[in-house]
């Protein structure tokens, strides 16, 4: 029987082979929307619980890595009565090419990170004028 889809069946982030985490917190892959808008690529990541101070975006060679840390949001003294989602840090990496690295912008609002990656000059489409003979 079809049921309503549940948001955020969180997926655990994959670690490279042989690498372990030093802490026991869970790490999840935030959901992403990627689209192209004119001269740039936009990536939107859902990371509830992070703000601009707790998110980290780094670009190394061709890999863009996004990490976010989250504070537990159970109030003090409370016990968990019913839990449908787990709370943990976020991590996701993308390979990118043809991007103007100096002008990447990142904005966090309401737990959503918006990355704007402008395309590099070579990658932009050039319109070729068609002339008649």
């Amino acid at each position: 029987m079809a049921t309503e889809t549940r948001a955020m069946d969180k997926r655990e982030a994959q670690q490279p082979q042989g690498v372990e985490r030093t802490m026991t917190r869970k790490v999840f892959m935030p959901r992403a929307d990627i689209y192209e808008s004119g001269e740039s690529l936009v990536i939107l990541l859902d990371m509830p619980g992070v703000d601009e101070k707790s998110v980290d975006v780094t670009l190394e060679k061709d890999i863009l890595t996004i990490t976010g840390t989250v504070q537990p949001h159970i109030p003090e003294g409370h016990t968990l009565a019913y839990s449908e989602y787990e709370i943990g840090d976020y991590r996701r990496a993308f390979t990118i090419s043809d991007v103007d690295r100096e002008n990447i912008t990142a904005v966090v609002k309401n737990g959503v990170l918006r990355l704007t990656l402008p395309k590099s000059a070579q990658a932009r489409t050039r319109k070729i004028e068609v002339k008649t003979q």
Partner: protein, 164 residues
């Protein structure tokens, strides 16, 4: 000896089954079509049920002696986009996640996030005082704190564990 070069013998010998001649294929196609209609009416698309349509946020419920706290992860939304109400021990969270204007009509390479309207009913573990509920939205996490009613607080009776 007449050697038939072309394999057009009887219909049943053809490796390709044609719909008219194969009732099972026709039945399968009919069932697929019915299920597609079924999915459409629930607001899911054929892709992966995760696009625009009806979705439901997940919640965590925690409590102590005096309060019940419900938290839901709703990234991208703020207090203007949600409506929270309590009735008879059931908490209802309702709202709509709209696409940002600049995102509409763009070429998407990947779409994993949810959009559209949602509603979620949460049964609370105990009676609460509806007038004193408090809801805050921070960093995309909605936290609703409801004080337990006096009757509910009294009901908690500690049972002493004695050693034999």
């Amino acid at each position: 000896m007449a050697f038939n070069l072309t394999p057009w013998k009887k219909r049943s010998a053809l490796p390709v089954r044609r719909e008219e001649s194969d009732p099972f294929l026709a039945l399968q196609k009919e069932m697929n079509r019915l299920l597609e209609d079924f999915n459409q009416s629930f607001g899911m698309t054929a892709f992966d049920g995760e696009q625009k349509g009806i979705w439901s946020p997940v919640v965590n419920v925690s409590e102590d002696d005096k309060n019940v706290t419900v938290s839901a992860e709703l990234p991208g939304l703020d207090e203007k986009d949600v409506e929270v109400s309590v009735s008879d021990n059931i908490l209802t969270i309702r709202g709509e996640k709209k696409e940002e204007k600049e995102d509409k009509g763009k070429n998407y390479y990947r779409m994993e996030r949810h959009y559209g309207s949602f509603q979620r009913d949460v049964v609370l573990p105990s009676e609460v005082e509806m007038d004193k509920a408090d809801a805050t939205f921070k960093r995309g996490v909605l936290t609703i704190s409801l004080p337990k009613s006096k009757e509910a607080q009294k009901e908690v009776k500690k049972i002493e564990v004695k050693a034999r």
